[in-house]
């Protein structure tokens, strides 16, 4: 029962095969027996059981929607008023939000059951979930390896079938990279599609909430529920949300898939590039047309991102001052010392690095050379995509250059860690929707992700192509050993 998809549970719940309460209890027990993965920061059994019985009543009355009674995990940076929201940080260890994030509220309205809050890199800064105050999360495919990050707890939870679906956020690849490393389907929608209200801010012009699940079809159902205009988010897009579910079943013959030469260059591990090429042949067999495209400024995406994201972060994280909420140091001499002690105790090393970089690139004398330069590159990168999309409907490549790496391997070398985002962060810079789906395994049995980037606000096409691919492949049905 635990290994089913969202839609399989949905059918079983409405067919009275089991109740939401039974399913929720089983998932909570499973979470406890898999505690060594460290996928959760907080389990919330009381909330979950209450929401499950409410869902069962609705199902009994025949008033259930497709998501009613389905358990899920929220990344621990979505504010939840019933359960603490830590962001993986000591500074928010005791923080209980006075309100729910819009995404949380919408999924609650849809009848979903919150099992708890997933582990993550502190303030979503990282690509391995090793930068959490609550310790690293382990990859269910190999416990000695990272699940990716920053939404690594969400990814590990779904891969280990502790929940059929989880929410995540993606500022530079934080949904897609862990989805790739854990063998999941994960979608980062277009910037503005999903409300950021109640999502703790890291880099506000890049952050976007999304979904990680076992199938693209499940992603479509949950994305449908969380998308749409929200007046509480000043950057929310006020445009109708297409019917993602309806368009899943469209044939993909005639769709034009662009392959950027730059995404198949040196530096991509052989098993990864091989699996991606095989996936592309599958899409070709399904009738898609493949064209070569260019994204000439791709190499600038990482440097550009690692100026802009820290700059925005250094400003956003100024709010953690030990005055209004969160941790405050116990000893200090005056108010400045109180701020400095509180923040030095409260933040981990990666957050500190990014705050320093952010302050540096924004300071007088360096602002033009770094920050403005990066903003100009951002324009070039976005323009490259606009030109490429004149020739194709979707851009495809590897999500990551390698499969999951060992825990501890890159923790002392931030630049190596940053290079994990080499294929993912340009979609954030340009605000485009993008997803990762399972597309094979390397010779160590570790999952490989296929990356699909769509036109702005065209989540429907990438979901459609991903779903059709999954109807003709079974990579997404593999379960890590010991979790079946």
């Amino acid at each position: 029962m635990e290994c089913r998809t969202v839609l399989e549970h949905s059918k079983a719940l409405r067919g009275k095969e089991y109740s939401s309460l039974e399913l929720t209890q089983a998932m909570l027990e499973r979470a406890q027996s898999c505690a060594s993965l460290n996928a959760y920061i907080t389990l919330s059994p009381e909330v979950a059981l209450k929401q499950a019985s409410t869902a069962d009543k609705l199902i009994g009355k025949g008033k259930a929607g497709p998501l009613t009674g389905i358990p899920l995990v929220h990344k621990d940076l979505f504010c939840t008023k019933d359960v603490r929201t830590t962001c993986g940080s000591r500074i928010l260890d005791n923080f209980i939000s006075p309100y729910n994030a819009t995404l949380v509220e919408k999924l609650q309205q849809a009848g979903m059951v919150m099992l708890g809050k997933a582990n993550m890199d502190e303030f979503a800064m990282g690509s391995s979930t090793e930068n959490s105050y609550y310790g690293p999360t382990r990859n269910p495919w190999d416990h000695e390896r990272v699940p990716g990050g920053s939404s690594g707890g969400s990814a590990a939870a779904v891969a280990a079938r502790l929940a059929p679906v989880a929410t995540g956020t993606d500022t530079g690849g934080s949904i897609r990279q862990p989805a790739a490393l854990c063998g999941l389907s994960g979608i980062k929608p277009s910037y503005g599609r999903v409300s950021r209200y109640g999502m703790v801010a890291f880099a506000s012009s890049l952050d976007q909430g999304g979904v990680m699940a076992l199938t693209s079809e499940d992603c479509a159902y949950v994305l449908q529920a969380i998308s749409g205009f929200d007046e509480k988010d000043s950057t929310s897009v006020n445009q109708a949300v297409p019917d993602y579910i309806h368009s899943l079943s469209e044939p993909i013959s005639g769709k034009i898939i662009g392959l950027p030469r730059e995404f198949f260059a040196d530096g991509v591990d052989k098993p990864v590039s091989q699996a991606i090429r095989e996936s592309i042949s599958v899409l070709e067999q399904l009738g898609a047309r493949i064209v070569d495209i260019e994204l000439p400024n791709s190499a600038a995406a990482i440097p550009c991102y690692y100026v802009l994201a820290p700059a925005e972060a250094s400003s956003n994280l100024a709010r953690f001052d030990g005055v209004r909420y969160g941790h405050r140091a116990s000893e200090y001499s005056d108010i400045v010392d109180m701020y400095e002690s509180t923040r030095s105790e409260g933040f981990g090393p990666e957050v500190k690095r990014r705050l320093l970089i952010g302050a540096y690139v924004l300071s007088i004398g360096y602002f033009e050379a770094y920050y403005v330069k990066a903003q100009k590159l951002r324009r070039l990168i976005a323009d490259d995509f606009s030109k490429a999309f004149e020739q194709c409907d979707v851009i495809v490549g590897p999500t990551t250059p390698t499969t999951a790496f060992p825990i501890g391997q890159k923790t002392d070398d931030p630049v190596q860690m940053y290079l994990n985002d080499i294929f993912t962060n340009s979609a954030n810079l340009a605000g485009l929707p993008a997803m990762s789906i399972p597309s094979g395994f390397d010779n160590q049995g570790l999952p490989i992700g296929l990356h699909l980037i769509g036109k702005y606000l065209d989540e429907a096409t990438i979901l459609n192509i991903a779903h059709q691919y999954q109807l003709h492949t079974d990579w997404h049905q593999r379960i890590p050993e010991g979790y079946a």
């Binding site: 400024n297 690692y306 320093l356």
Partner: protein, 95 residues
């Protein structure tokens, strides 16, 4: 451009962090690696390009100037490390 431990301490003050000498040494090594990587930006000529600050070409939405929030100060203050009579308490700043 590279940063020495003194400059790290100066940046730390800007973002309200404090480091021991050892910490400043460690951070300066890592930050210099990051800055070297970031300086690859200079390989691209961006002279005539307009900076892009945001993925959307949009104006900020305006709303009617009406009261939409209710007074929730007790609830909002309940998580504060120190508060009294509706005020946040901080160390004395004015003698």
């Amino acid at each position: 451009m590279s940063l020495n431990p003194d400059q790290i301490q100066q940046l730390a003050r800007l973002v309200r962090l404090k480091f021991t000498e050892n910490e400043a040494d460690d951070f300066s090594g890592q930050l210099n690696d990051i800055i070297r990587m970031v300086e690859q930006m200079n390989q691209v000529d961006t002279d005539p390009i307009q900076p892009m600050s945001h993925p959307q070409d949009m104006k900020l939405r305006m709303r009617a100037d009406t009261v939409t929030e209710t007074d929730q100060h007790e609830k909002l203050q309940s998580g504060a490390p120190a508060s009294d009579s509706g005020l946040y308490l901080v160390p004395r700043v004015v003698e």
